[in-house]
């Protein structure tokens, strides 16, 4: 049941109306927008089902202005919005941010909310640099003002296969059967579709014996794990969110399911809270996800800044891609030398950043405003930390594969 | 000519308890027919079977030459029988006039015409001055009158009145008796009434039927029935005479 997302949204209506109308707020806001600072709208799901992710992304956005200024970029001011994990509200909030005079927007983590905000930006001609959202249609719909430095679903799936092959070759241990378990939401389904569609192209050593979809708001995942275990697959490939990743792991231990290893594409399994909740049982999971390259200088700066602001918090995809979106904006602003939308968009189209944080050669958009070169990493949970294991050029350590059985974890 | 209403051996049980057993009677057009009997004698159950609220377990109800046994209440109303409820059932959020208009819409398709007809019914029952009050604010006697006005407004040939005099003062009872008599005389209405107020029953009824424990124990002219020994012992109690 997707009910879990409902609370704050019961508020009948999004916002605005008579009070604001009487105040005649809009013209003043637009007037205020003139100035030397670039106003960046940051629209994230900070309440509702995805609240923890939105808040996580926000942390990186908050670090960006000071960090980027120290790297020689211009002044940026953040104007915050909350989508409440709801595309409808995302749309209204995007309008509100634009009325408040933002020059450029970033967000919204979730595909549906991002699409809703993208339509507004397109209508108003405001540049929108997407931080995270994998739905292919975002850069296939012909938006003129929308830019994405995040791999699409098929790109993530492709990298997932390539990274696995690399891992199996390096460790010499490959499963012959895999069960694919995915959360039945926008991201989970599209990712699972891409995987089942692309697998034949890659000549993988295994076949997917069953595809199991489960409810994103399920209270109890014991039957799901039971079904997965019942397939007797050698390894299991998850596409999850945080809460279900935790529940799945616990059930696997309780049901004494000892696969060769756990592979994940998508959030959940690498998140700090996952490792915190499960301790030693959170180790050895391999996430095949868009990630940061720990060896790049800008990444090191981000990791240091994050450590300073939030001791103990490890940098993850949410941080890396949100920060990188800010970097792309700052870079375009520097080159455009103006807050003017048309100039910013023109500058964004010519983006060519080498000194970035995410994996891959850098940021450069194609004619659809997608960065086709951005890559994923294989990241393994080790002792409460995420360590990159592949690709080799962005790796920090060697993989543990097969994983340590639950019963043998000290 | 066949009687207007003919009830043939109707019976009804609730959870094995017999409420009405094998009651038969007939009412001629333009007759006023009284039904009396102690509480729990099955009078209201009998009404509910005629009006379609309950389907009889056995027996038949003939009205105006048609078999209406087991008809839904609205179909019974369509056939030409109006009814009131023993426990008044006003539309609480509607005004008095609107209450009666609902009934009048059965006879008039247009709302305007129905409202006029409803106003006439209210005047007839001396409720005209209360027409804009909400039904929930009426006194009990006025609610009883409202019940009658509403049933009348549907334009019935026969009307079933369930204790409409209960709670009325003697002068009010007399007014009601006059009104009912006028309705019969002027509109040719046939009336079947359940009543405890003997003064009204005696004044109004052409014939009276007595129910006891769900069975008919007497029927005839009012004066004759009240002297019937069976009635005296079972209903009025021997000591009453």
């Amino acid at each position: 049941m997707e009910l879990a997302t409902s609370r704050p949204r019961r508020r009948a209506v999004l916002a605005g109306g008579v009070a604001a109308l009487v105040a005649g707020a809009a013209p003043f806001n637009i007037g205020r927008a003139q100035g030397s600072k670039l106003k960046v709208g940051v629209l994230l799901p900070k309440s509702g089902l995805q609240a923890q992710i939105g808040i996580d992304c926000q942390r990186a956005a908050d670090l960006a202005p000071a960090l980027l200024k120290s790297k020689g970029f211009g002044d940026m001011e953040l104007v915050l919005g909350d989508t409440e994990t709801n595309p409808q509200i995302a749309r209204a909030q995007a309008e509100k941010l634009i009325d408040q005079g933002i020059h450029v927007l970033t967000g919204c983590f979730d595909s549906g909310q991002t699409l809703a905000a993208a339509q507004v930006c397109e209508q108003k001609g405001i540049p929108f640099v997407v931080n995270i959202a994998a739905v292919p249609s975002l850069t296939e719909q012909g938006f003129k003002t929308v830019f994405r430095n995040f791999p699409t679903g098929p790109m993530i799936a492709t990298d997932a296969f390539l990274l696995q092959k690399e891992m199996y070759a390096a460790t010499g241990k490959a499963p012959k059967t895999v069960v694919l378990m995915h959360v039945n939401d926008t991201f989970g389904t599209s990712q699972a579709d891409a995987i089942t569609k692309l697998i034949d192209k890659f000549d993988m050593p295994y076949k997917i014996v069953e595809r199991i979809s489960y409810d994103p708001a399920a209270r109890d995942l014991s039957a799901e794990v039971r079904k997965g275990k019942g397939t007797n697959a050698e390894a299991v490939w998850f596409i999850s969110r945080l809460n279900d990743a935790i529940l799945m792991t616990r059930e696997m231990i309780k049901q004494r399911w000892e696969p060769m290893g756990i592979i994940s594409s998508g959030p959940g399994w690498y998140e700090g809270q996952y490792m915190q909740a499960l301790g030693k049982h959170g180790d050895d999971v391999v996430s095949l996800v868009p990630w940061y390259d720990p060896n790049k200088p800008m990444s090191k700066a981000l990791v240091a800044a994050m450590q300073k602001a939030h001791a103990g918090l490890t940098v993850n995809t949410n941080h890396a891609h949100t920060f990188e979106a800010m970097l792309i904006i700052a870079d375009a602003y520097k080159r455009a030398g103006a807050t003017d939308a048309a100039k910013l968009i023109a500058a964004l189209e010519k983006t060519d950043i080498k000194d970035n944080v995410t994996v891959g050669p850098g940021v450069k958009f194609d004619e659809k405003h997608q960065n086709p070169k951005t890559r994923c990493s294989a990241v393994q949970n080790r002792g409460g930390k995420n360590l990159a294991i592949f690709p080799a050029e962005a790796a920090e350590t060697k993989p543990v594969w097969p994983m340590t059985p639950w019963s043998k974890r000290a | 000519m066949a009687p207007l209403l003919q009830v043939e051996g109707v019976a009804k049980s609730f959870r094995g308890l017999r409420a009405v057993s094998d009651v038969s009677f007939a009412v001629e057009a333009k007759e006023i027919f009284g039904i009396i009997g102690p509480n729990g004698a099955g009078k209201t159950t009998l009404f509910n079977m005629i009006a379609g609220a309950f389907r009889p377990d056995r027996g038949q109800v003939q009205f105006d030459g048609r078999d209406i046994t087991g008809f839904r209440p609205d179909k019974v109303c369509d056939a030409g029988i109006g009814r009131t409820f023993q426990i008044v059932q006003p539309f609480a959020e509607l005004t008095v006039l609107e209450n009666v208009t609902v009934g009048a819409l059965h006879a008039h398709r247009e709302v305007a015409a129905a409202r006029l007809a409803a106003a006439d019914c209210l005047d007839l029952l001396e409720l005209g001055h209360r027409r804009h009050m909400h039904a929930s604010n009426l006194t009990l006697p006025d609610r009883k009158r409202l019940e009658v006005a509403r049933a009348l407004a549907t334009g019935p040939k026969l009307i079933l009145l369930d204790e409409v005099m209960a709670g009325l003062r003697p002068t009010e009872t007399d007014r009601m008796v006059v009104i009912l008599q006028r309705l019969r005389a002027e509109a040719g209405l046939t009336i079947v009434l359940i009543e405890h107020v003997m003064r009204a029953v005696m004044a109004l009824s052409d014939r009276v039927m007595v129910l006891h424990h769900g069975e008919k124990i007497a029927e005839g002219k009012p004066e004759a029935v009240v002297r019937d020994p069976a009635v005296l012992t079972s209903y009025l109690g021997g000591a009453a005479v």
Binding site: E2, S6, R7, R10, R11, A12, V13, L14, A15, G16, G17, V18, A19, A20, L21, A25, A26, K46, S47, A51, I55, Q58, D82, E84, N86, P87, Q88, E95, K96, D99, G112, L115, E122, Q123, S137, Q141, G142, F143, N184, D185, T186, T189, D193 | A51, A53, P73, D74, G82, R83, F85, Q89, F91, E98, T101, V102, G103, L105, V111, H132, T154
Partner: protein, 349 residues
């Protein structure tokens, strides 16, 4: 009775003036305010429209539905599917959506009435149907499933005005929903002052008595359920073409159903203007709380990472509870009395 009397007959001079002023203000709104506020006003009117539809079901016919998102969703998905996949313009798609929704309304109504499921049980029946449908659409690949159904965005959909295909500027959608909301209000008034309306109100107050007066209770209840469902489906078509993307959770979720009950309940169940008024009260209320929280954050009273998401809905919940406790008949009837907008029954023709 003339059309004028049926639609406006019970308003005092002051009431007429207020209504006229309100309509003029709404018509002029997009040129007075920023586009954000115009969007919000669009959503307010959308909720007012749906509130009117829902109100018909509860306030008028006495049936509590907490699954109305089902009908909205049917309208949205049917028209969007026909447009996006088969290129059928929404002007025709709306017919399909309404037809399916009316059929669904008839089915649920039929089951509810025939099996004598009333009150809260009926409400749960409606929830169950809506949730069941949500899960089914989740798994319906041809409708996009959980990945959503998207309407193509084209140049015409940015600034143009294409009423046939419902592609156009925000202003077009604003005036469209304004027209729909006013039409819904007029339709409801027209129905309510007619025979059907008398019967509905009678059934709501006392079904047994209504039946004894010759009202075919089942039939009139079915009318209410079907008209309400059909209107909701029209709202759904608007939703689909306004937002351009549909997700089962967003469209059929119980939160959608609850959302659309709020305006009429707060405004006044069973009143015609209540749903509209309720929508216009709740919106600024939400905005006020948002502004308050933002002010607290910018003034440094609470930090950015303090968990403030809850503050706004907390006060919102308290405010709604207070309205229920203090004005259980809704706010609109109270305002009406205070301002003398409606004639007392004795002055109506």
């Amino acid at each position: 009775m003339s059309l004028y009397t049926r639609l406006l007959g019970d308003l005092t001079g002051r009431g007429l003036a207020a209504l006229a002023g309100f309509v003029v203000l709404l018509v002029a709104l997009p040129s007075l305010v920023s586009s954000y506020i115009a969007t919000v006003a669009t959503i307010v009117l959308y909720l007012a429209f749906l509130g009117q539809a829902w109100n018909l079901m509860l306030g008028i016919a006495g049936l509590l539905s907490i699954g109305h998102a089902l009908f909205v969703g049917i309208g949205a998905y049917a028209s969007a599917y026909l447009f996006a996949i088969h290129g059928v313009p929404p002007l025709l798609g709306v017919l399909a959506g309404v037809a399916i929704a009316v059929a669904a309304g008839a089915l649920i109504g039929y089951l509810g009435f025939r099996f004598a499921i009333g009150g809260v049980y009926f409400a749960l029946l409606t929830i169950a149907f809506a949730e069941f449908t949500r899960i089914m659409v989740d798994h319906a690949k041809f409708l996009g499933g959980t990945e959503g159904l998207f309407l193509p965005v084209s140049a015409a959909s940015r600034h143009g005005f294409d009423l046939l295909n419902l592609r156009g500027s925000p202003e077009m959608f604003y005036y469209l929903i304004l027209a729909l909301a006013l039409a819904a209000l007029a339709l409801c008034r027209w129905l309510l002052t007619g025979r059907t309306g008398y019967y509905w109100r009678a059934i709501r107050d006392n079904p047994a008595a209504a039946q004894a007066l010759g009202v075919d209770v089942f039939r009139y209840r079915m009318y209410a359920a079907m008209i309400s469902a059909g209107m909701a489906a029209v709202g759904g078509v608007f939703y689909a073409f306004f937002y351009n993307n549909l997700f089962p959770e967003q469209v059929f979720g119980i939160e959608r159903s609850i959302e659309l009950t709020l305006a009429p309940i707060v405004g006044g169940v069973g009143t015609l203007f209540g749903p509209i008024f309720g929508a216009f009260v709740l919106t600024p209320l939400g905005e006020l709380f948002t502004a308050g929280v933002e002010w607290l954050q910018t003034s440094g009273a609470i930090g950015r990472h303090v968990k403030v998401d809850g503050v706004k809905p907390l006060f919102w919940g308290i405010a709604v509870a207070a309205i229920v406790l203090l004005r259980p008949r809704g706010i609109w009837p109270w305002i009406c009395d205070r301002l003398g907008l409606v004639k007392p029954p004795s002055e109506r023709s």
